[in-house]
Symmetry: D3
Subunit: 130 residues, 6 copies
């Protein structure tokens, strides 16, 4: 649940300070299941997602230094969250079996979707860096 | 899509400037259908709902004089929207057949629900004043 | 999935032949659970609902004699379905334990909701005749 | 996410050991908002709901002594959860402003809904004891 | 909300005149955000989608010359809508920054989904012609 | 609606006997519609999906010989269902026009998704063997 404003005539009334609730989905893909028969430890994945969102939740994004001069649109935020989680995965936050590798084992692909209402959403997807 | 902040320790981090997307449902009830076989002209009802929400959309509610000193919680806003629409109905904005009357004809009951995410919502419901 | 057209200026372009998909929910209420610990046998209830809808499904409602001269609006159809099912319940189609009676046992209240899209729906609710 | 089996021919194949995921909604009603402009502290309400569900989650309900000889149907469980939460509310778990009283202040009504799939659900609702 | 009938034994009762409500989702993809930090101007995209659907809404598709001799199935209509919107995009209806080009800038991929109920849907997706 | 338990510390309380409701979506893709203007006969597809799920429904998966020594996780079951249906398609259960072939005609790709709640799901997708 964040507040922000946008710069640019294309945004019309959204140039004013306003806000949004984002419901965020995280999707992880791999070619074969790990030794436990799972794609990922859903408990760890939920924790990493929560920790990533906690930095943004209940904030006025206009005042966060890392977003200075940027329009924090839904699609922009999808990429921000993707990059944060990719770093955590590479650091082992989802466990050793989830580590992306050049071989086929491990997580290979990730998608982050931000639903801003029942009709509008944006997502960013791409390979996990190995 | 509004921005606001709350006063009171109970709100924790929501005391900071943040925001929300509300998806708003309007429900109207009557005892018998009108002469056209409908509860209400859904085109007019949609227009009245849109006009009511347009006053709030893309606003920082903390800066609106009518909300000074109030916590613009989801449940509070449900009542605000209910009252606005009730006035419009009484003024005939949904047509003559929708006018609440002491007799059984006309709209009798209304419910306004604000969904702030896929899990949290609040509503206000009550009789339409005749 | 039905086709129909409406009579009356209030319907605008819906005066032309058009159609709709209805997703129909059936809700049954009683004060206390029956001897098996249930409100109703959900298998029987589903069957009665399916049989009721089968009469309407894939029809042009304008050509059905029982709807002659009526606007088969969503709210009108909710009542039609309510009445059909109420008759079936009274005839024992949901089993002896579901029979509405003057005493507190048995089903007491029913609600039929027709969802015509993700935003528009209508329902009819009322007591089950004893 | 629970496992259980049912006794009674009416349950057909559900007489075998099987399971269900329940998504549980809690709805609280009062006549007027409290001094903070809310129905209830949603943080406390979420915590009480989680603690109540934690007792049931990942259990084989057939092995829980309190359910011996009972069919733990969805509608039965809705009542069980309602009663647990009502006791917690009366004990002050939702704060002093939420206490049901004979006067109009405080929470007055509660509804617990268990969704067992996208089409089937059951709920129990009633007044909160004062 | 359209009416139509189908030719072919595979359609069973859907060979009769019937109808459907379609909820239509439009998804646009590009490799990098434009200068404003967006995938597309959602206001323009909504307008182009509305204008495209307005041609079909409240129509008996059996009577539209362009569909003569075709089964206007959900999957067929997804393609029809895709093609209409692709032409509009190429004509600049979503703005200069959205124009698909041989270079990586601009919209690259589109998906049109028609939901005909809570369980059935069809979509067409493909590259946007450059 | 199945019961099962998991082996492995990663599963925490899910190592106990518990259960789940799965809502299963089946998605089929081809490059061009068949002679009737459809991707697949949705009646046949629904029947094949139902028959496949009937083998699993209301079962304790721990007791099914084919799953001995396996964790019947959501993602594992998605693959099981995918493989069952792929065999049925190859055997002609969806009709001759649906048969995957080396040429572009016929079904080419399938995706099976198991929703275990409103927030958690898993899917398996891949080409249909020709």
């Amino acid at each position: 649940m964040i507040a922000h404003s946008f710069q640019g005539a294309v945004f019309g009334p959204a140039q004013r300070m306003h806000g949004a609730t984002y419901v965020v989905d995280l999707e992880l893909r791999r070619e074969a299941l790990d030794a436990d028969g799972i794609v990922v430890d859903i408990g760890l994945a939920t924790q990493v997602l929560r920790e990533t969102l906690a930095v943004l939740n209940f904030q006025n994004l206009d005042e966060m230094p890392e977003f200075k001069g940027r329009n924090t649109t839904t699609e922009f935020l999808a990429r921000v969250i993707f990059d944060h989680i990719a770093v955590r995965i590479a650091a082992g936050a989802l466990g050793a079996q989830a580590l992306p590798t050049a071989q086929s084992a491990g997580l290979r692909q990730m998608k982050v979707t931000l639903h801003e209402s029942h009709v509008a959403w944006a997502s960013y997807e791409g390979p996990l860096p190995v």
